[in-house]
Amino acid sequence: MAQMNLLHAINNALDIAMTDNERTVCFGEDVGHFGGVFRATSGLQEKFGKARCFNTPLVEQGIIGFANGLAAQGSVAVAEIQFADYIFPAFDQIVNEAAKFRYRSGNEFDVGKLTIRSPYGGGIAGGLYHSQSPEAYFAHTPGLKVVIPRNPYQAKGLLLASIRDDNPVIFFEPKRLYRASVGEVPAEDYQLPLGKAEVVQTGNDITLLAWGAQMEIIEKAAEKATGDGISCEIIDLRTILPWDIETVVNSVMKTGRLIVSQEAPLTAGFASEIAATIQQECFLHLESPIARVCGMDTPYPLALEKEYVSDHLKVYEAIKHSVNY
């Protein structure tokens, strides 16, 4: 065990994946010698050589196109997109190509060996182009897996599982937590399961659900609610697609109430999918409407970021509203 921040955990996972399988290759803008603008790939080029860890030209559609081909060839491709806000030029290569590669070929070819890493989310005074949480765009795309860790321990285990999973995985890293989130991380190789939510805290009155950096927010809100005698069950979804319906249903069957909090704007976000599914699965057990505490339906702002985001106070208010419904 060692204390690591989230960035170190990512770097450590990449190191292990590259050591463990010599066909693993990491690349992206500034990923090589420099080690990435956040330094997630620091030291990898020195250790594994320029052929296996390198800078690409500045072209996201090319990075993912290249990664698709590399993965189809049988290499393990770990591509970095410098900010999730810049993943959209690669949207076609992800949504039309990576996601459909195996299906369209009848399993003659696949890009299961592809992982796309990208820092996402707000809270760093980044304005509308360094703060986005685009998970819902990918969640509407069968064939992809979408994974988001909440802390260093999760990050290492989920990233190793993502790299080894035989499907294309988009791994969004909460950049606000890169250095802020520090915790014990085993030195050895381990994996955490994809497609499984984690019940982080059990409780009886209401279920709070989130993922990534938003977990801190709901935990803080839950703490405040505990002061009011409200017992919160807290779930980290961890994998957005395919998501763990069963764990959420079981929780809501027990608590009868659900709040989902996401950083992304409300409309057509992934919280909506969860609400839609849970109202269907738990209809007779719901004691109040499922509430979504989300970003507003605008681009991500700068000066008024504090006002805009779904913070613990807004979640706390939603808890009270739900419990008193």
């Binding site: 196109g65 993965a71 290569q93 035989d166 395919p242």
Partner: protein
């Protein structure tokens, strides 16, 4: 490093613009239409056996295209794309490679797959989306693919295979294989952003990939002078620092020669090569298209005189590697075989209902399994509405 990023040229003190057309690009031609070689022309590696295989592939290609266009007209097939008049590009490319090389195509390169040995049945089963289709009946006709034959399954979105080919070739290089990747695309698709990405990355990442542009003058109805203003696609190679050659795409020997040379270079130097094959799309874009709306008969007729298959036949005859009787025979035989194969394939069942959910992931997720179960119940309730699958799962 900064001065590495460009070649020091002359220093001038009044503005000198370089013109879009300032780069001279020669065109490689080996075989003349009458079957004789140009003087001093350098042949590709080719013997009678290979030549015969190439020629038979061309003939088979012509027959298959003709028959399938006809089948589509008869309503037996939903869609087809022929390569009339430009068969030499795909067949010659494949013939210039080794079997272990990966072929990634756009959609008009069935000739390369024929050359590799994809069976008539495999073609048919794909086109009729039946249970025996390697692709499990999921893509429109002509979207073939075969892992065994190193022929990447075709994808409709244009240009996407270009950076993929770069990545594929990079992987081959990393593994130290004696293998390159060839990547075909049309001059229309070369306008996509993915083209720029793929070529630039191949140069920078030093990937052994052969970019093979079929410049056939049209992208559906759009003539190439509304597609770009440079000197063809070849002139772009310069901008990427990629070795580039322009060839007569209807000259099978030029295609083979260029591909063989490109392969050797790509492998030895770990570097990409760009080939631009000049040709003409003699037929409609696809069976959904009618070119009379956007071009003249005269223009088409002019190009009919450049038939690449007839050109190779003339050469084969002159070599005494082939005769007219053999020729008539194989055409006759291919026609019969194709017709028979259509009749077999169109009667084969649709793929099993379970294929609706397989291959989306390596293993179908719970929700998808549930969706399939619900579907099965539903089909059982209304079997008449789902005749292809009712009672078959």
């Amino acid at each position: 490093m900064n001065t590495d990023s460009y070649n020091e040229g002359a220093v001038v003190h009044t503005p000198v613009f370089i013109d879009g057309h300032s780069v001279e690009i020669p065109i490689l031609k080996i075989l003349q239409q009458d079957g004789t070689l140009y003087e001093c022309a350098e042949l590709p590696d080719i013997d009678q056996e290979l030549a015969t295989k190439v020629y038979k592939t061309l003939a088979f290609h012509r027959v298959l295209d003709e028959r399938m266009v006809a089948s589509q007209r008869q309503g037996r097939l939903s869609f087809y794309i022929a390569a009339l008049g430009e068969e030499a590009a795909s067949v010659g490319g494949a013939a210039g490679l080794k079997d272990q090389d990966m072929i990634m195509t756009q959609y008009r390169e069935q000739g390369a797959l024929m050359f590799r040995g994809f069976s008539l049945e495999d073609f048919m089963n794909q086109m009729f989306s039946n249970a025996k289709d390697l692709g499990k009946g999921r893509q429109m006709p002509i979207h073939y693919g075969s892992k065994e034959l190193n022929y990447m399954t075709i994808s409709s979105p244009l240009g996407t295979q270009i950076p993929q080919a770069t990545g594929y070739a990079y992987g081959q290089k990393l593994q130290g294989l004696d293998a390159v990747t060839i990547c075909y695309f049309g001059e229309g698709a070369a306008s996509e952003g993915d083209f720029h990405a793929g070529l630039n990355m191949a140069a920078v990442q030093e990937a052994p990939v052969i970019f093979f542009c079929r410049n056939n003058g049209y992208a559906i109805s759009t003539p190439s002078d509304e597609q770009f203003k440079g000197n063809g696609i070849a002139s772009r190679g310069v901008g990427y620092g990629i070795k580039t050659i322009r060839i007569d795409g209807n000259d099978i020997l030029a295609v083979m020669k260029a591909t063989q040379t490109a392969r050797a270079y790509a492998l030895k130097e770990n570097a990409p090569v760009l080939i631009e094959a000049m040709s003409y799309r003699l037929g409609a874009h696809s069976t959904s298209d009618d070119p009379s709306g956007y071009r003249t008969r005269e223009e088409e007729e002019q190009w009919q005189a450049n038939d690449p298959i007839l050109r190779m036949k003339n050469w084969m005859l002159a070599q005494n590697w082939w005769d007219e009787t053999q020729d008539a025979e194989i055409y006759e035989r291919y026609r019969k075989e194709v017709l028979a194969a259509v009749k077999v394939s169109e009667k084969i069942d649709k793929p099993h209902l379970d294929t609706l959910i397989t291959d989306v992931y390596d293993v179908p997720p719970v929700l998808l399994q549930k969706q399939l179960e619900e579907l099965k119940e539903h089909i059982n309730k209304y079997p008449d509405a789902y005749p292809f699958t009712a009672g078959k799962f």
